[in-house]
Subunit: 391 residues, 2 copies
């Protein structure tokens, strides 16, 4: 199997992570986040439902992959690692009351002389559970543990040219996916049939390349459901006189390009049209504003000035960093577009500018996934930026 | 929105959970597992990428849902809970370095006079991270914390008639999905196009009902990839002379019916045919054997006796409990079909009997999802049980 990146790109990533570890005083880093594991080694499989991790040690030339024994062949197929860097734990550790796979990880660290080191763990990574941490801490009484949740994430924050290329491919897929989604929102069509068509286009993709599963399923809240962002489809049909929000993504080698649009069936009420007009004007103002040097919170202030004219209120963040991702989230969990976030924009940061507006009974989402360029920003997908009205 | 179960069914579940809490000496249970949250309240949204939970307190008549403010409307739409039992935390808690949503959960517990109780937490639930536990323990110094990981899971283990009905509907969907999957495995077809067709059929479903997203994506390892179970598709095409394993599921209201079959393009080698013959014979022997009263490990012994004749070796578990599930796993994490598991079969247990066989360069999967009946067991889907050979 051909890896999506050249080996030297993985090695450069590992180097940057090691420099960051040194800065933070971390000698051994345990990455359980699947996107971090992929980023460091190429590992790619839906095996994150059992504990697994990649260990990066300052003293070791190559990371160590540890996962369930049956997935070790998957690591051989999808990573650049040598055989001795791939270790599978026996199935006896899986979902047991009296032991935990992290006991095995502790044994590996001990075997490698790393049991008394300063160990960084990704405390808030989805698949690094309280029980996993507990087992590790109990098994390694001489180690000291430090929260290194942000180390690999922040290294991932600035994308390489190859990563940008995959995100642009995802953007091209996203154009197709949104087109398919909008086409299937019609009165009388079952929501599940629209979702099915979206999935089909996400994965089948185009003639020159297909797509990956996205880290969040297609979301298409409709009617009263538009008051909240994360509802999924039912067997019910779309109805004339109601709005549907499409918050979708496409992914290429797990690199995501998300996009949200709002569709109305029939003649939209004035309040919805006004809100959408404000949302588009504010979004376009922000796209003009973003460039290297401006901060995340300045972007928010710029947005707020425009929407204030429209009486739009919003107290949730209006965007976040994106890139390589696995379920359940395509966000990178680093910078957020919100007050107080002073992250300075740099070229090849990639952000989902997602100023979703939700009220008690309705909402509007119109978003763009962007790359910060040398002089401004560019959208990853080219989709008309408006409320879509279908008669 | 109509809930998939009557309110009294949720109340009965809560009663059973409370009895189990009493047995374990737990006064307050914090469930962060999305399937447990759904089981107790009906809550259904792809919002588990931020911390959220359902609190069941012996002293409170109704559970409390806590999630991100923007998802509170989703809880109003999808649960039976009253408005005062739905609490949304401000967006300021999301993905921050200086606070955690569990700080807010701790405040809620304090407000309800529950800060000094014996609190059960699901230590190994996917979305109950080390950081979440840490925040909770720090914020509630007078509480005592106990691992209650298995309480709701084991209550879920025996299905109600309505749950069985949804699982049988999922089984009907699964018949369609496997048919579509097998039809798309052909030399020259891109793997991504087969995956796309599978997704389409999973979600669009049939005329009388559609499907839900499954907790694991379609898995279709092919060629050398069949040596390991969890690889996903690429843009490459299927090749004559190679095997592909389809490990798929269908879901109805998040209740899963998984199924695995193996497809060979061309004339399969003898070793593969022999292995498949042994796998089928052993599986059928096991299906004849399963009935109330037999134990999980006796099922394994029964299987092993048959495969021994074929020289088949396997050191991983050969099945697990299934039911309501969210990504990343459709397993229930209670009983496993493996040596040492002495769980006694009871009517309305539902199990994926999944004796996957993986060697260094190839593998075979032929499985069945079953319900234990009063006198034996029945398959949830009716799909020919054999190696599928396509010329």
């Amino acid at each position: 199997m051909t890896l999506p990146f050249e080996k030297h790109e993985y090695l450069e990533r590992i180097d940057r992570v090691k420099r960051s570890m040194e800065n933070e005083g971390i000698e051994v880093l345990i990455s359980a986040d699947p996107a971090n594991m992929n980023y460091l080694t190429g590992y790619d499989g839906w095996s994150f439902y059992v504990p697994q991790c990649v260990i990066t040690a300052l003293a070791e030339p190559e990371p160590i992959w540890i996962g369930r024994a049956m997935d070790a062949n998957g690591a051989r197929v999808t990573t650049f690692l040598g055989d001795s860097s791939i270790l599978g734990y026996p199935d006896d550790y899986v979902q047991k009351r009296d032991c935990h796979p992290m006991d095995y990880v502790a044994d590996v660290l001990r075997d490698h002389g790393l049991a008394s080191k300063r160990i960084g763990v990704e405390m808030d990574a989805y698949y690094y559970t309280a029980a996993a941490h507990d087992a590790l801490v109990r098994s390694l009484p001489n180690a000291s543990f430090h929260n290194a949740h942000w180390i690999v994430r922040w290294v991932r924050n600035i994308k390489s040219d190859m990563e940008i290329q995959y995100m642009k491919q995802a953007g091209r897929l996203m154009e197709l996916v949104m087109q398919v989604g909008v086409a299937h929102i019609s009165a009388g069509v079952r929501q599940c049939d629209a979702a099915a068509a979206i999935y089909q286009s996400q994965i089948s993709g185009m003639g020159d390349f297909g797509g990956d599963y996205t880290a969040i399923c297609p979301m298409l809240p409709t009617g009263i459901g538009t008051s909240t962002p994360h509802l999924t489809w039912t067997d019910e049909t779309f109805r004339e006189g109601e709005a549907t929000i499409l918050e979708l993504a496409a992914a290429r080698h797990h690199y995501h390009s998300p996009l949200a649009r709002t569709v109305f069936l029939g003649e939209p009420p004035d309040y919805l049209q006004d809100c959408a007009k404000g949302a588009v004007e504010a979004l376009e103002t922000v796209l003009d504003f973003i460039k290297p040097g401006v901060t995340a919170e300045e972007i928010v202030q710029t947005w707020q000035k425009v929407v204030a004219k429209y009486g739009i209120e919003k107290d949730s963040r209006m965007g976040y960093s994106i890139g390589c991702a696995y379920p359940p989230d395509w966000g990178e969990h680093t910078l957020s577009l919100r007050t107080g976030d002073k992250t300075v924009m740099q070229p090849n940061m990639t952000i989902h500018v997602m100023p979703g507006i939700w009220y008690d009974t309705w909402g509007v989402e119109i978003s763009e996934a962007i790359r910060v360029t040398e002089t401004g920003c560019e959208c990853l997908a080219n989709v008309p930026r408006d409320l879509f009205v279908k008669e």
